[in-house]
Symmetry: C2
Subunit: 420 residues, 2 copies
Amino acid sequence: MSARNAFYAQSGGVTAVINASACGVIETARKHSNKIANVYAGRNGIIGALTEDMIDTSKESASTIAALMYTPGGAFGSARYKLKGIEENRAEYERLIEVFKAHDIGYFFYNGGNDSMDTAHKVSQISRKMGYPVTCLGVPKTVDNDLPVTDTCPGFGSVAKYVAVSTQEAAMDVLSMAKTSTKVFILEVMGRHAGWIAAAGGLAGKKPEDAPHIILFPEIPFEQTAFLKKVQQCVSDYGYCVIVVSEGAAYANGQFLAEAGTRDAFGHAQLGGVAPVVANMVRESLGYKFHYAIADYLQRSARHIASDVDVKQAYAVGKAAVQYAVQGKTAVMPVIKRISDQPYRWKIESAPLSRIANKEKKLPRHYISKDGFGITAAARRYLQPLITGENYPPYINGLPKVAKLKNKLVKPLTGTKFVV
Amino acid sequence: MSARNAFYAQSGGVTAVINASACGVIETARKHSNKIANVYAGRNGIIGALTEDMIDTSKESASTIAALMYTPGGAFGSARYKLKGIEENRAEYERLIEVFKAHDIGYFFYNGGNDSMDTAHKVSQISRKMGYPVTCLGVPKTVDNDLPVTDTCPGFGSVAKYVAVSTQEAAMDVLSMAKTSTKVFILEVMGRHAGWIAAAGGLAGKKPEDAPHIILFPEIPFEQTAFLKKVQQCVSDYGYCVIVVSEGAAYANGQFLAEAGTRDAFGHAQLGGVAPVVANMVRESLGYKFHYAIADYLQRSARHIASDVDVKQAYAVGKAAVQYAVQGKTAVMPVIKRISDQPYRWKIESAPLSRIANKEKKLPRHYISKDGFGITAAARRYLQPLITGENYPPYINGLPKVAKLKNKLVKPLTGTKFVV
């Protein structure tokens, strides 16, 4: 059987290391040229397949592909675009297969989170039904760390490191000035439904007097009275109070503290600005001088402070996906399996997409301290290895060097246009 | 003449490298033990002198002092506390001299910005008048880069690097998703009266299509119509728009944009955030999906991405201050003099405090592009060297290592209490 082409797409919110997975996919595919001819990357993710707007990665040099290891963002463009169920939009799936057929694409690598694993799973099933079976592999990626089965998700370790380091640094700043200036500092971090990122902030301190003194998790219903009491106690006992708050912090009735009312393409509520809400509570009830930071995209693009473990795992899942594919496995995703905490050891295994698609892994209750405001020793055991090691990009003139891709497009062959 | 003690205090907002200056002062003082006995550091800055709450740095090991080089925050505590004019509060100055006398303090090193240079200058004059002349040295420090005479201010280069790197990284994130997601990204940075920090964001891009596409400076009166037109043009031409906004951005009448009073989902006034104000303008007039980050204290404490040039200059001004002092100079501050841009070369000189105290250096108009939204080649020539080189702290378990000081207090000798 002659070599066939592969299609690779990035999906959803990008991470500091999603391009390391792309690097793993492309470099490994190049080593299996007997099975995989060219890797075409979707420009703007899956939309690139639907609109036949694909980048021919075979036109990129080995050194450019290697530079993806330290390049943040999504090198080929990502998309917040979820394919509907086959009953609702059969045309999209038929179009995908049409494009795959036209370009002799026999492999589909989808680099994303829960929604994307669902899509990859569906494409696998539908392509078979349509008589053009495509080998479909998921490549895990999400800063939210909420994929099931896998021990962690590439992208999370780096945002965790960013949040832990930033919390430690800002806390030292606040502590040194608390006598005459800011007493309460609030750092807002990502994590819409799961408190993994907020929990990582907890790594900045070990003892009760260490910052952060309070973490607000999506998993713990917010109680204003208990929260303000704790803030007051910290300022009284330690002279200051550092709070890490998840954008997903919510009241017992499920209402987000930062409910914005708008929704993204996946129908998820779009959040932003829980820090000022919390700051106002502190100001109105306690009157302390406060400051807040909203890390927003800085946290998930901070390749300059990426976790070495995370970079290596991001590459490894890309590499493994290709290896599974050429072995004939389909409808699976490489997962990270933890062998031991100390020393931290891990390996890659495969898991069926059906076990991963559309499922969400929340922070377990036993990772959260009894009072709901901190992390436990079990959480530290889990989180600590994931932020270990620094993986610095090269710099030119004081700024990180990044891959400069040619992004040459593949010539369209279907002869038809498709509007998304 | 026998060796006398020195008093060192940190003042105002801390920086990622103010402790490198402390290191320069203490290490250099230790080399001049014939003139300087012990260096006492004010706990919480000048307040520590007034309340006789001083840390004996001679109790710290050489390796602990060396670790100050990579420790953010203010190791001894800083204070936002300005001594009033001598006519208004003679008691404070008299108290200072009382404490200095009691502890045989003959040298005063004040590490701060404009206000602090004024204080150091006054202490120099008053101590002479009171018959207890103290050798007074300023040690420059401010992320705002607004001290006159000196080419740059220690602390600025590192925040500039943080802002330039973060702008580049976040812009790559936004660009890769703009097709289906966020089209406008806003990064709020410090600089209440001068746009130096905002200007540093401009280093992230060189060509018109590169981010940041718009910088909002305090020096340029904000015009909403021109701003929104430019946002729309960027989204139309490049698919996205990245904006760096100074917290000091203001209307022609002097009103800060951040005072405009937006409200969150709960109807609470949002305080201190110019980014949400700008974001709301974009949303209401253009309807683009937006995100914003507020770097706040993260930017000035980010020792993990400090500029190597900045760290070296911070140390050098501390070292020079002690050298000047033991040479008998007083009422001066070490300044950084630029010898050449490319290659970047600099040296330390001394300048009288009277030329520096209470003066402010704004971003010159020729550093800002004609349309007011970007930086010029002249600005690049000035800024570029200041972010050059990475000076990474050591790490333990994924987090930056920091100095652990004993902070042993000097035994009070005045026998009187002073309330600040």
